[in-house]
Symmetry: C2
Subunit: 697 residues, 2 copies
Amino acid sequence: MKHYRALIVTLGVSWLAIAGPACADDGYDLWLRTPKAVAGPAAVTAIGDSATIRLAADALRRALPAGTPAVTVATAGDPQVAALRLPFAGLGDEGYLVRRVSLGGRQVLLVAGNSDRGALYGAFALLRAVGDGADAAAVTLRSAPKVKLRVLDHWDNLDGTVERGFAGQSLWDWWSLPDFDDPRYTDYARANASIGINGTVLNNVNAKADSLTAPYIAKAAKLAAVFRPWGIKVYLSARFSAPIELGGLKTADPRDPAVAAWWKAKADEIYRAIPDFGGFLVKANSEGQPGPRDYGASHADGANMLAAAVRPHGGIVMWRAFVYAETDPEDRAKQAYSEFKPLDGKFADNVLVQVKNGAIDFQPREPFHPLFGAMPKTPLMIEFQITKEYLGFATHLAYLGPLFAETLHARTGRKPGETVADVVDGSAEGHRLTGMAGVANIGRDRDWSGSTFNQANWYAFGRLAWDPDLDPAAIAREWAGLTFGNDPQVIATTTAMMAGSREAVVDYTGAFGLAHLMATGHHYGPGPWVADLARPEWNPTYYHRADRGGIGFERGASGSDAIAQYAPSVARQLAKPETTPERELLWFHHVAWDRRMADGRTLWEDLVAHYDAGVAYVATMQSQWQSLRGKIDAERWQKTATYLSIQHREARWWRDASLAYWMSVNQRALPAGVAPPEHDLAWYKAQSIPYAPGHTS
Amino acid sequence: MKHYRALIVTLGVSWLAIAGPACADDGYDLWLRTPKAVAGPAAVTAIGDSATIRLAADALRRALPAGTPAVTVATAGDPQVAALRLPFAGLGDEGYLVRRVSLGGRQVLLVAGNSDRGALYGAFALLRAVGDGADAAAVTLRSAPKVKLRVLDHWDNLDGTVERGFAGQSLWDWWSLPDFDDPRYTDYARANASIGINGTVLNNVNAKADSLTAPYIAKAAKLAAVFRPWGIKVYLSARFSAPIELGGLKTADPRDPAVAAWWKAKADEIYRAIPDFGGFLVKANSEGQPGPRDYGASHADGANMLAAAVRPHGGIVMWRAFVYAETDPEDRAKQAYSEFKPLDGKFADNVLVQVKNGAIDFQPREPFHPLFGAMPKTPLMIEFQITKEYLGFATHLAYLGPLFAETLHARTGRKPGETVADVVDGSAEGHRLTGMAGVANIGRDRDWSGSTFNQANWYAFGRLAWDPDLDPAAIAREWAGLTFGNDPQVIATTTAMMAGSREAVVDYTGAFGLAHLMATGHHYGPGPWVADLARPEWNPTYYHRADRGGIGFERGASGSDAIAQYAPSVARQLAKPETTPERELLWFHHVAWDRRMADGRTLWEDLVAHYDAGVAYVATMQSQWQSLRGKIDAERWQKTATYLSIQHREARWWRDASLAYWMSVNQRALPAGVAPPEHDLAWYKAQSIPYAPGHTS
């Protein structure tokens, strides 16, 4: 009884706050909820006085259920721990182990790593295991990250907008930095550390030079100080022309010594403020950004010049391969390979070339990028988009774990069994500098990512960056338990919804490898008919090439021959429609509407069926979610229910608009029994969406 | 004991949430905190089944301390209540009374009004009284609002930005409306209802026509449905040229029957979606906005045409008098009067002319606008700016109650004893249609207004709109108790800080009626030297007219003669510097630097002293706030402490930059013992602030 009384007294003030509206379950806590009913402070001791070790111990105290055996957080170097001769070898500086041991005569659960960061990751791994229902006393864990740089790319502008951001303003309040340390910065760092993310690029790759001025360096330094004990380094996107804009130079030519000196001085200045600054991310000569090609220099020239500036400080450069020249008539899907493949071996050893998962731009489905495996001498960092620019913004439910895994697990054909993951984690060629980047879906919205289920994409990215071989279904199960609690019906239902949700988006926006069919600019909703934009490759018609007879972009030898960029074994498989996986058929080939598919129906019949399947999947998710009413807190339940109703309406919109357009092109009727589009094509063409979010550039 | 145990069980889930970071005291609850330690549900009964009565009862249940006597919420029309013969007469449809009565044989505290909205306001009045320490059993209240329309003007754009907004994105998520009913909309409505606000203009006066399209009407209708039971009507800013942009007409001339018909049809459309739509707010022929003057028609022609459109539905038009023509060389301070005074008597009876508190634009101090009292046949709605465009954005602490009251309590000189408040509340001329508007300081930031103390300005506006004669110091006390709790030291200290805080901003930005000295565009920080903008009245030098000999804008007969716009008795007093209040001296007169002031020092000496006093006041607030460490929750304390340190640095910046500039003009030394500016004038002129918030147009 006394226990309860004391609890009440302790909680007095905080509890009052929850009488108000503030503490409805608004999703702020992400997957970091306390897993059991009323938690009590578990007996957690920390060995060593690093801030990171203290944070690890605090995280455990805060969330371990009462009755958990005593826990000790430590590093391998502690003499008591060293004496245990545990298998720390091979864990590197970020791996961890959790073991029941006898320490100083006491049985404790030891959470330890070679570094304090390893111990921190171990603490969160323990919490995941316990959250998943494991008995803490029996937990045994040992893991090290397979990828070195696990980085979020924030496309956040200095004015607070976020390019392709659908979760509110930028988390960074540049205005009140560096003075004000918003507690939310710490909560952001904790969330990232809990899933192993160890780097964050603060500003948009479409960068302003201002981010490299002294005031903004001071602001970034404040964030770096908050993130440091959580094992997270800060990076900046660098505008290649900054020596002109800030330095008053006449050129940004990377071969000009004055330019190199400017960047060296700038790097020195940054490292004075941020001793562990991670380095630069650069988007050069792409979509209007300046770059070395402006001066006839190569991407390697540009990257190496920047790499030399950060090298003395241990920094690195992430150089994006996402380039397509507005003056190049070549198939856009080919341009990155054409430009970068010849540069293999030319990059300094602290440069990573950052390659998007596919060759176009984060479509609902893309074949893996042909550069993976094609530049063995260069560390290739993969770039995924966590924010759903092309998959329904924050509103649609689409679990991206399967999308990430689909690319990671794809076979490059360069070596027997080699996957994209092998290239990314460095095992293919023995690279030690490796990385995975995700374009963040995080903003100042209360639930961080615009919806509860979008949080799962942030989570899945972090988990896959730690281990690209993880099963996305297992990640979904883990996330659902941590996010909604361990009711088996809730976990079963939510993971069933998630499982096919990305495929449903593929289906209702255009299956079989169709891509880039969205409306112009904001990229929301259907626009397959758009054909009047200035550059050919801005138009959906460029990508689908539908005509009376057929549909698809011929990338075989009779077409753009992009297929030849793949390894011979892969290229051979893709060369013919018959051996091309159907899910990528129209990406690689232009085929007849009447083409007979594996299921015996025609392409047209199957395409229509996929549209209907996509819409039906969303309807199923709606009824699945309805079955959870009352089993999930009202606020999160209601928002998701509302968003699913929006998604259903818009899936139908995608389907109807697309079918109306295809029928206008192929002059075909719908298969028997299929519902006609609700409106005529003119109606769909007339729709416009002013003020769509995320369209800042 | 059982009681506590039950409490624990009930709270289980919610309490878990507060173990995480979500429920730190982040200011979300505003002044609606539970006033006493652990509250229990008081016995509250509601008579009648209106949603509003239920909300009133819920509010009381939620927040009344345990042990409160039984409370009954009802309307005067209920037979039991009517039988009591209480003094409901004169309370109108929004007033309330709270009385201890015998009802159905039971002693209850009756909370009632002639309407359910009156009862709702009564409920919040009771909570204020109890929060202020009153014994609920002894509370006796009776009040009716003196002003009919108590309205927030949101300068919120459809893209989510907020013009002059410093508290994050727009609260309205137009993207997910009308589908998603964000719980925050309800919390917004509750907060407003609790201080008597009964209207909200959703969109910026610099309006887009899109806000009048069907999709946006549906979005507004959703908000109206949420706000309705809280007694809050929705209004829209109307773009005067919408008949051209949306209707395809060739003109927006208000005398054109097709234009009038378009607006009538548009109003009908809006009222079908929002039956209690409040009406339109219009900024016409001002700062580039279209208006009737484009066609040679008058403001009255424009307002009356719109008024006719909403009249059948009971709507009104708020027509802004904030006009100054970019082609008119007349003293900007005179133009609104010159344009509107001749129109007195020409406006339809459902039009209010909305007049800013002063003749320029929400400066830290302005004399009252000469239109007040000068248009007796026209209801004049006063417009204050709650958001601190010119008083330090969200960062500086400035309690605006004294600013609002200073204007409201000013004597117009038109009738004996007549104040601006008498004009605004209609008592001067018997107008029944009356209003007070405040430009909102509300955004999606967690604490709504960007800082805890900015919440007080929202609060004070609401309370003064209910009763313009309230004492701002009493309002501050009330707010501080509700916001920080009833610790006498906390209340005494916070109210002492607030009391002189606005005057401190006047002092460190420029005392004695100096105005419009800020930097260009974003309006943050000093720019008294700016003289190169295209229009004369955009330049600070236009307003201060400082030269070697003196400083100030001569508005007497030898100058612009703006003083002649005031009533004769006021004009006589202002005619000469000797009889002009010193605090407004330089607004009305150009005087010598050596002019002897009331305290015996020269103007220059006094001006310098005021700069120093302003900076010193902020330093004092810092130490006052330090004395409250540990007496206020850590999160709100820390943010305010940080913001005060920013304010101190920037008050010094204003002082130093201004003094450096004045010295460059008047070639004078600083008085003995005064600290010189930290940098030279060139340094201050070279400062720039990219990406300042709130600068959207």
